[in-house]
Assembly symmetry: C2
Homo-oligomer: 325 residues x 2
């Protein structure tokens, strides 16, 4: 691919050109100066896609479900983008990613754009770049952007908090629900799916979730519970219906506006937080001031709190959010 000007890239993305889409997502992943210019230029085109997060414990069949849902949405002529989020785990990361890439090859449909994104040890950064990749797909006119995450963890919560619709996927086995409750994903569910519903216990799990959903009513809406068998392609039409009904519901009143504003708050907060956590402490001036503070503390004249307070006052001007990448 030859050299592209920013104008070319913006134009290509908005036109939905696949190569430009890929290039633009790589650009936001790199997070340099160009990436900010690109996003700014794209911003008039961002905002109409529904961002759907699919989350749940490992083994719930999220990849297969995402794949089946995408195919179902495509039969309704909707443009779909998929962002597969891989917090690199030393234990499972590689294998799962491999499985998923194989899985998603099933969607060899030019209107479906799939991108796998792995964290580089920094979950905050991952949450940010996945949202920016979604911005790119949104600007390209995709109707639905699906985020699919591996496992349950803090990264999932962050990803979900930036979605319009969060689908929590569980399997009939009760352990998954306990895991999901522990991980705090029940509270963020806009919709539940009991996947692998051909297995024993599916009705019992459905019953439990319907019961639990009473406590999760938000804005007058109770999260529905659906049963699917992604492998057998059962329940997918009902799920797609539910997703599209949700989209209509969200467009009523100021719901979408409020949710998008909350998402923007999350994104700004994560950006500042990662700047604080990753960049601040490695600045030479900060380390020098920290040494001075440590020396003062060692002299025993001031408490740790007093020393920390003076240190902070002397260095907080040095945190420049623009440093982050």
């Amino acid at each position: 691919m030859g050299r592209l000007t920013l104008d070319d890239l913006v134009e290509g993305v908005v036109a939905g050109d696949r190569r430009c889409l890929g290039r633009a997502i790589t650009t936001v992943e790199e997070g340099d100066e160009t990436s900010w210019s690109l996003l700014k230029r794209l911003s008039p085109h961002i905002g109409s896609a529904l961002r759907v997060g699919i989350t749940g414990p490992p083994g719930a069949g999220k990849s297969t479900l995402a794949d089946a849902l995408v195919r179902e949405l495509r039969t309704r002529d909707l443009g779909v983008g998929v962002i597969a989020v891989d917090p690199s785990s030393p234990f499972t990361g590689g294998a799962l990613l491999g499985d998923r890439v194989r899985m998603l090859r099933a969607t060899e449909d030019p209107e479906v754009f799939v991108r796998s994104m792995a964290s580089r040890g920094c979950l905050g950064g991952l949450a940010r770049t996945t949202q920016e990749a979604a911005d790119v797909l949104d600007a390209a006119g995709k109707d639905i952007v699906l985020f699919e995450t591996v496992g349950v963890g803090q990264s999932e919560l962050t990803v979900a908090s930036a979605c319009d619709l969060t689908i929590v996927v569980l399997v009939p086995e009760a352990g998954g629900m306990v895991q999901a409750m522990k991980a705090g994903v029940m509270e963020i569910a806009d919709m539940f799916v009991v996947n692998k519903a051909d297995r024993p216990g599916a009705d019992e799990m459905e019953f439990q979730l319907v019961d639990a959903s009473r406590y999760l009513i938000s804005d007058g809406r109770r999260p529905p519970v659906l049963k699917t068998s992604a492998l057998k392609d059962e329940g997918l039409a009902a799920l797609a219906d539910e997703v599209l009904q949700y989209r209509e519901w969200l467009h009523q009143g100021d719901r979408l506006e409020l949710r998008r504003k909350a998402q923007a708050k999350t994104r700004i907060r994560e950006l500042v937080r990662s700047a604080l956590e990753e960049k601040f402490w490695s600045q030479a001036g900060v380390d020098e001031s920290l040494s001075v503070a440590a020396e003062t503390f060692r002299q025993g004249e001031q408490s740790l709190l007093e020393v920390a307070q003076s240190f902070w006052l002397s260095v907080r001007e040095q945190i420049a959010v623009s440093d982050i990448s």
Copy 2:
């Protein structure tokens, strides 16, 4: 226990009164105004104890080893304090703590002060209060303060980074070494112990560790590898010898001074970091500014980075480290 003035408490701690010790540690755990005053008053008496961290993967027998080491050190007439660190785990926390408390009852020796400390969901806070509890035991004249941690994780690394001597405990089974390497605890080891050394594979594990220790030479010192069987009380005298030799080595030149300064840096950094992470975002003014920033971003005139930067400039004055508790 009646009302104690701060003077009484300081005097009691310095005299090594057990009830005052317990009360003082509770005070630092609460982390209020009194706790800072107390630590400041104690500071002239802090600095002579050797802080020893015992860490390693779950199942390595750290509690039993700590208990046996304490008894061995007591035969040499050394005053010992033990801080058992329990990052509360939803999976294992309770049971392990129960086991350990039973275990440490074996040391029913008035000169040994044992305190279990559990995190309240905040590892940064835990790291801080364990160090402050060690300060109290140090001020009370204990020669050795032992930190014993459950499992391997970020909390262990933080605890270890504030110790004078870190002992990494492994068992003959190779899996533990892999776990320890993944968790990054090999690099922080000043000493290795192959515990449960009566099991098959102990010599092989010792050989591997001796080999690996070549890469861990620091300040001209190569971490020694010892074999123990804490349950059978074997190898403990050699371990205690090694700990005391290390103490002598540390007192040569400016080693102790340098290490203590590095520890102070870590403690100040953790204090500021937890203030940033826990207090900053919940301030009313910060949330208001964040809403304004989100609104600006939603208007599409500025990039997320520009918005985040303005937000940060407008709120950074509001982070007061003195707010933290």
